[in-house]
Symmetry: C2
Subunit: 257 residues, 2 copies
Amino acid sequence: MHRQFSLQPFSRHYSHSTHPFLDFLDFDGSEPTSAGEPSAAAHIVVRPAERAQLLDVLAAYKDAQNAGTLLTLTFVTVNDYLWLLRAVSQELSQLGRSCLYYLAAAVSDFFLPRQRMSEHKIQSGKGSLHIEMDQVPKILKPLVAEWTREGYIVSFKLETDEALLVPKARQALARYGHQVVIGNDLHRRKFEVVFVSPKASAPRADQGESVPGEHYEESWLRIDLEQHPQKEIEEDIVSELVKRHQAWIAAASAASA
Amino acid sequence: MHRQFSLQPFSRHYSHSTHPFLDFLDFDGSEPTSAGEPSAAAHIVVRPAERAQLLDVLAAYKDAQNAGTLLTLTFVTVNDYLWLLRAVSQELSQLGRSCLYYLAAAVSDFFLPRQRMSEHKIQSGKGSLHIEMDQVPKILKPLVAEWTREGYIVSFKLETDEALLVPKARQALARYGHQVVIGNDLHRRKFEVVFVSPKASAPRADQGESVPGEHYEESWLRIDLEQHPQKEIEEDIVSELVKRHQAWIAAASAASA
C-alpha cells in the first residue's frame, strides 16, 4: 500500500527530480533527418553509464511482476488507508502466523473531518487561518485485537527527540500488544534503528499501559554508510524481521505440539 | 520554477504512478542466462506501442536542452518561492517589455511562520490539534510596482465557485495593475478558461480597488475535448498570450515613436 505519487519500489531509483530517466536515453547513431528530427527508424538506447543499474532494476522489477509477488494498492487520504488496511488484514488473517505486516507508511496523526471541510476554496484576505484537526484513530488496536489476531505486526515510531524513542516504542507495545516496534530518529534513520519487543517472559499487553520497562528488550541495528555508501538499512531490517518471524512461527508450533 | 517533485515538462508524460516507464522497457531477444538473469550483453529496448510517443517526447526534450531554452529552478517552501521570484524578476527586468511572466505555480495562500513551528514532532495523544496560519504576502504588488516594472505579467486565479471567478480576477488587476489574469474553475480548467484584462482605455490601477467593471474585458477560451481528447488547453493559452504580448510590445514602440 502506498500513497499515490509517493516513490515506489523499483522506479524509486529514477525520481524525475533527482535522476530523470529522459536524461539517460539517447537516439542511436542513425542520422537525424534534415529538420533535426529523429528519423522514424531511430532507436532509443540507454546510455552506457546507466545501463548496468537499469538492467538490475528492470530485471528485479520483471521478476517480481512475473512471480506475482508484488501487489501495489494506492491510497490518497488517511481514511482510504484505514479502510484499505482493515479490508486487507481481514482477508490476510486466514494466513494466521505466516503473515507479517510491515506498517511503514507514515500516516498522519491528525486529519480534518469531512464535515468541517470548506465546500469552496478558502478565501484569503480575511486575515489568518485557524484550523482544528482531530486525531486519527489508532488503527493498531483493532488490527491486533480483532482483524488479524495472529499476524506478526511490525510498526514504526519516528521521533525527532531521541530521548522519547524507546519510551514511546514501549508504550505502543504495551497499548496494542503487537510484536515489534522499530524506532527511528528522523536524522539518524538511514543508518540506525532500534527494535523494541516484549521479552518472551513478559505478560501479554492486556494489562494495558502499566507494563514496566524490564519486560521489553531493545536491540540496535546500525550500518556503516562511510564504508558502504550504497547500502540501505532496510535490507538488514528485513533480514532481521524474517529471522524473528520464523522463530515466532516455530515457537507456536512447538507450544502446540 | 517548480516545486521539487512536482510533475515537470517532458517527464510529466511518464508519471511513475500512472504511466511508469519501467513498464515499457524490455530486454531484447537475447536468451536469458540459466538463472533467468539477463545476460551482460542484453539490450534494453522500448516496447513498440510506446516508441512513437517516447521518440516525440525525447526529441522535444533534447531540443530544449540543446537550445538552452529551459532553465528549471526548484523550490520547496513558499518562502523559497518568493525569494527566488524576486531575484529572478529583478534580473529579468533588464529585458523590459520583452519578458513575459507566466505565474502558474499554485502557491499556497497561508503558511506557518518559522517562529511558530514546533521544534520536535508534535505528539499526538493530547486531543485535537490547533493551527493558526498567516497569510502569504501578496507577491504581485512588489513584482509589478518594483521588481520588474515593464514585464508582461500573467497571473492565475483558480476558484471552485464560478460566480467568484471574474470578480476576483478584476479585483486582482485593480489591486496590482498587471496585464492579464487567467481565471479557471477547478472542475472546468482542462477545457475552459477566461482571460481578464484592463481595456486599452482603462485608467491605470493606481486608483486602487475602485476601478469599476466596465474597465475590464473578458474573453473565454474553450476547447472541445470530445473532438480532441489529446489536446491540452495550455497550447491555446500560450498562443493567445504570445499574440497579446507582441501587440503590447508594438503598442509601446508606437507610443514612443
